[in-house]
Amino acid sequence: MKWSQFFNTSIGKKLLVGATGLFLCSFVIVHLAGNFQLLYNDEGKAFNAYAAFMGHNSLIQFIAWGLKIVILLHAFIAIQLTFSNRAARPVKYAVSPGNQTSSWFSRQMAIMGSILFIFIIIHLANFWAKFHYGEMPLRTYPGQEEPLKDLYLVSQETFKTGWLVVLYVIGMIGLSFHLIHGFKSACQTFGLNHKKYNGLLSFIGIWLFGIAIPVGFAIIPVVIYFK
């Protein structure tokens, strides 16, 4: 089987969705670690220096563009699979089993993914586009010569707007519900299903990616809003 045929089979496409999904899982860890600097009580010195580094380091910029392509690829193949999966049942059942035979989370991947995708577009417009292509306030910290783009201030101002905080939290609920099933599902697609590791994989999928990370992200705008 040629590569072109291999990645056109249902399992081949799922491998691409799973691989891109796991890569995005690793990305959210790094992103969250960076975001926590928004909670430092240093008027954004650490966060702005971090943002300047992330925005200018050429290796990181290369990965950042790759990341956008990965998100599009993940969404594109997943949508393609969703449509072919729906087409596989032209006449629907009159009575469906609901949650009796499968978890609710496992059946909402496309919906949660779509919420997440809309969130990512708004999020990029709010911060990434502004940082790279928009007008940014500058700030020079004591002991530094070069002024830094004050992304810290932009985030503080953005999250003083209530509906943007709500939108952010909804996006993180989407992330949570997507990853509660997504992480373990990707592992299964790669053939990782073993008595000795299933408990650990479930724990990582549900508690780390499904709960801890989305809650970690969501706390930050909420704290900023009420500060």
Binding site: S103, K184, T189
Partner: protein, 254 residues
């Protein structure tokens, strides 16, 4: 368990042939014994329909002891009805009570077209088996069974996978009409044994290619197939199929 009789309302899918649109027909099933199997209840209903000069409900059945895999009925939203690990013939009427309304539909999947009423065409499964669900052996005397050592644990896993009766409940239960549990059971029962090794790569690749060609959906790991399988085939088989397919895809020279 105490015996009782019941009257039921059935909403049954009626469809003349695969080109007919089909619709639900409401029927009364009277004086049904709690000790009947679900299929025996249908026999009673059909007797009455025949006596009235009407067309009886077409449904598949053969062994009536849970091993042939023919009795494909989607009952109240569940493949083979509300009980776990059973086929429709093993479902007894004591699962219902007097006055219940029961909705009975055929397996719904594009790859399983309705032949008539509750009967569907599952020959797509046969074509998947033809694509690689076998081992090639030379003619001549069968060799002594003990000359190929088989690990007992693996033999047990292969046996558990071989319990698949090809009923199609996995496809019926899956929101994507995916046949992955069926294909994974058929790949696993051979991949786990030394006799299946020589053809393991071509088997995984060809059976998955045929599965896609038949128009089954892809697996999103919801686990509904495992929950509905009358033979309780495990999802670990799907993981094994994925490993077999990845291994074959990355190493095959064709």
């Amino acid at each position: 368990m105490e015996h009782y009789n019941m009257n039921l309302t059935l909403k049954v899918w009626r469809q003349k042939n695969k080109n007919d649109q089909g619709r639900f027909e409401t029927l009364q099933a009277k004086n049904i014994s709690s000790e009947m199997s679900f299929l025996e209840m249908f026999d009673v209903v059909n007797e009455e329909l025949i006596n009235e000069g009407k067309d009886p409900i077409a449904f598949d059945h053969d062994c009536r002891e849970g091993i042939c895999g023919m009795c494909s009925m989607h009952i109240n939203g569940r493949a083979h009805g509300p009980w776990d690990g059973t086929t429709t013939c093993q479902l007894h009427m004591r699962a219902f009570k007097d006055g219940d309304t029961i909705t009975v539909e055929p397996w719904r999947a594009g790859a399983f077209p309705v032949v008539k009423d509750l009967t569907v065409d599952r020959s797509a499964f046969d074509r998947i088996i033809e694509a690689g669900g076998y081992i090639s052996v030379n003619t001549g005397n069968a060799q002594d069974a003990n000359c190929i050592p088989v690990d007992k644990a693996k033999a047990d896993l292969a046996f558990a996978a071989a319990a698949c009766i090809g009923c199609g409940a996995c496809v019926a239960a899956c929101k994507n009409s995916s046949a992955m549990l069926f294909v994974s059971a058929k790949v696993s029962q051979l991949a786990l044994l030394p006799q299946g090794h020589p053809e393991k790569h071509s088997r995984a690749l060809n059976m998955v290619a045929q599965m896609d060609k038949e128009g089954f959906g892809s697996c999103t790991n919801t686990g509904a197939c495992e929950a509905e399988c009358p033979k309780e085939i495990s999802l670990t088989n799907i993981a094994r199929l994925n490993r077999e397919f990845i291994g074959a895809g990355f190493s095959s020279e064709k």
